[in-house]
Symmetry: C2
Subunit: 444 residues, 2 copies
Amino acid sequence: MTKIEPRTLAGFMELLPNEQILFNQIKETIETTYKKYGFLPIDTPIIELSEVLLAKAGGETEKQIYRFQKGDNDLSLRFDLTVPLAKYVAKNYGNLSFPFRRYQIGKVYRGERAQKGRYREFYQCDIDIIGDGELDIINDAEIPSIIYDIFTNLGFEDFTIRINNRKILNGLFEEIGQKEQSEEILRIIDKIEKIGKEAVVEEFEKIGVNSEQINKIIEFIEIEGTTNEKLEKLEKLNIENETYKQGVKELKEVIKNIKIFGVPEKNFKVDLTIARGLDYYTGTVYETFLNEYREIGSVCSGGRYENLAEYYTNKKLPGVGVSIGLTRLFYKLNELNIIKATKRAVAEVLIIPMLENLTEPIKLATKLRKMGINTEIFLNNKKLKAKFKYADKLEIPYVVVIGEDEVKENKVTIKNMKTGEEEKIANDEVEIIKRLEGVNIKID
Amino acid sequence: MTKIEPRTLAGFMELLPNEQILFNQIKETIETTYKKYGFLPIDTPIIELSEVLLAKAGGETEKQIYRFQKGDNDLSLRFDLTVPLAKYVAKNYGNLSFPFRRYQIGKVYRGERAQKGRYREFYQCDIDIIGDGELDIINDAEIPSIIYDIFTNLGFEDFTIRINNRKILNGLFEEIGQKEQSEEILRIIDKIEKIGKEAVVEEFEKIGVNSEQINKIIEFIEIEGTTNEKLEKLEKLNIENETYKQGVKELKEVIKNIKIFGVPEKNFKVDLTIARGLDYYTGTVYETFLNEYREIGSVCSGGRYENLAEYYTNKKLPGVGVSIGLTRLFYKLNELNIIKATKRAVAEVLIIPMLENLTEPIKLATKLRKMGINTEIFLNNKKLKAKFKYADKLEIPYVVVIGEDEVKENKVTIKNMKTGEEEKIANDEVEIIKRLEGVNIKID
C-alpha cells in the first residue's frame, strides 16, 4: 500500500505527551484561577455563520478568516472569543445575570502567514465582566488582581501589568486638534520602544503633526516617576479636554483600587504609551510583560469597552476583560527554556505483575486509584527488564512489583525510580502511599 | 445601525452557564478517570490536510466532512479522534513509549443532516492503548473496568457493557460459506432488536442465504444464558473454523479477566449480535447501554483493531480503545431529565460590600480564595436588595455582607441562602468556612 506521510499543518501546535502534560497544567492553573473569582464557563461553537461572526470584522482580520461554504451556509471559524461572547450575550440576554462574569478557554483560528512562533490555531483564555447598561469602574481594578494571581500561580515573580486609559489618549488628541489622525499617531507612539524618539518625531512630521503638537505628545509620553507622580503630572499638563480629564480620573480610581486588591506595587505600573488596538477599547487598557523576557511581548492584554454587542442588539453592554494567548505563551516559554516538561507520565505508580494471575495486582491498582493515585498496570507479557525500561522511559516515579513470591508472603516490592531504593513491604495501600514522596493524595 | 440576529448554527450545542457547569463536571469526571488509569493526554489540530485526514475515509464519512481550500491547501476538519491518533502515532513513533496509552477529549465535526439530537460539532472522549507490533489480549479486559468506573463515577448503576468478538462473527460466516456477504449479514443481524426474528429471516432469504445457513446464524444469535453458559454453547456449536475458535478463545480470556478487573457481573454481558461498524474492528468489541434508557443507544463503544495506522506507516500497531460521544450523551441525559443542572454559579460565596472602602471585603475574598473557596465580590454600586437578588438568581449558596457596622465591630454577616439563616460572626475566614456546608475546601 502507498503510505501517506503523516504530517501536521504548519502553524498548528501538536505536542508530545510530556509537553502536553505541562501545557495542560498551565491551562488548568488559568482555569482554576478564573473559577476562584467566580467566573462562569461558556463554550461556543468553533464554526459560526459568516454573517454573524463577521458582523464587525473588516480589513486585516477578514483576510485571515477560515471561511467556506457547506451546503447553503457561508461559514467561518472563530478568530477570537470576543465576537462569540457578544453573540452569546445578545442571544441569551434574558437568561443571564448581570454583571455577567464569564470565562472561556478554547481554540481560535487565523490564517496568518506561516512563520516560527506564529500559530494559525491557538488557545485563548478569556475573562470578561459584562454590565447591563453600566459597569462600575472598580471592575477595572479587579482584573489586574486576577492577572497577578495567575502569573504568580504559574511561578512568575518579575512581571508588570501595564495600565493606561484610552480616554487620556483620545482627550489629548482632541486637545491638540489631531483627533482625525489619532489612530495613526497611536501607531507611531506604539513604535517608540523599537525605533526611538527621533524616528517617532520624524514620523509625526511626515503625517503633518506640527511641532507644537509634537511637543505636547512627547511631553505626555515622556511623563516619568512613580505611579502617583505620573498621575499628578497628568493632572498638571493643563489639558482642559473633558475626555482627558475623565480618563485621568478613571485611571486614578483604578490605580487606587488595584492596591486595595492586593497587587504589589512592583507588579503594576502606569504606561501612557499603551493603546491596545485602535477602536475597540474605550477606557482602561492592560498589557502584561514578563520583565526578563520582554521579547515575548504582552502575555495578557485587554481592557474596557463601551459596548460589547452593538452589532447584535440595542442593549448597551459595557464590559472589561483580558485574554491570554496560551499557545504562543507556551511556545515562547518553552523556546526560552523558562518552563520545562518535567513529567513524562500521568501515572504515579506502575504496577508490574510477574505472575499469571492478575488478581492481586489489579486489586492493589483499584485501591490506589481510590486513594487518588494515578496507577497503571503493565499488562503486556514481557521480561521484567523490559517492563522496568518502560517505567524508566516514561519516568514513572514508583514501580511496584508483584510476583509469585510477593503474593505468597502478601507483600510487594516497591522501587523509587529516582533514588533506586527498593524495599519489600506489606501489600497494603497505606504502607505504599507512605513511600510515595511528592505525590498528591486526594481521596475520591 | 442594522442589527444582525445573534444566532447559533443548527447542530451546534451552545449551553447556558448552569448547563455548561454540569457539562464540564461530566467532562472532568471522564478525564479524571482516564488519568487515574495512567493515560497520557494529547491534543491534535482540528484542521488537517485532507490528504492526511481522508487517507482512509470514503463513502458516507467523506460526504459529511467539512472540507475547504485555504491558500494552496486542501483542508478538512477532523471527524473523529482515531484518524488524528493514527497520524500522531505514525509521526511520533520514535518518541513514544509502547504500549502507548493516550486519552484525547475534543470536538469533532460531521456535517450531518440537521435533526433533533444530532450534532455537527460534538465532543468525543477517547482512550486507546496502542501496542508496537503486538498488544496482549488482557488490555481488552482493562477497558471495561474503565468504562465501569466512569459510569459509576457519573452516578449510574444500571448499565451494561456488552461485549463480543468480531472473529467469532467472521469465523461463523466463513464456516457457512457466506464470507462475501458478511457485511450485509451483520447489517441485518444488527436490526434484530428493531424488526424481530421473522423479518430478519426474510431479509436473509432476499440476499440468497439458504435455509441451512440461516438456521446456523439464528442458532448462533439465539444463544442465551449466563455468560459462562454462552461461552460453553459457543464452543459446542461444532464450528471448526479457526478464526471462530480464536474468537471464542479471546472472548473467554477477556471475560475471565474482566471479572478479575472487578467489574460486577451485572454490569457486563456477552452480546453476540454486536458488531460495531463493518471493517475497522477485528477482535473484541464493546457497546455500553444505560438499561433504563436503551433509546439513547450505546453511550460508550469501541473495540480492538489489528492495525491503527497502516495508511501512514509499515509498523504494525494493534490497539484497543473506546469513545464516549459526550455532546450527544449530555443532550440525551438532559432531555430525559436524568441529569439536572443544579449549580447556576461557580462562586460558593458572594461578598456584598455595603461601604465605600473595599479594603475589608477584598481582604476577606483573598483569604477565602486561598482556602480554595470560589469567591466573588459584588462590585457594582447597587442597593442591598439588588445585590441579594443577584445572589438569588445565580443561586450562590452563601452571601457575606460587610457594611460600616461590620467593619467597626470586625465582624461580617453571613447568610445561608438556602435556609435563610443569617448570623453576625467574627470577620475570620476559618469562622466563615465552618458555616459553609457542602462546600469543598481545598487549600492551595
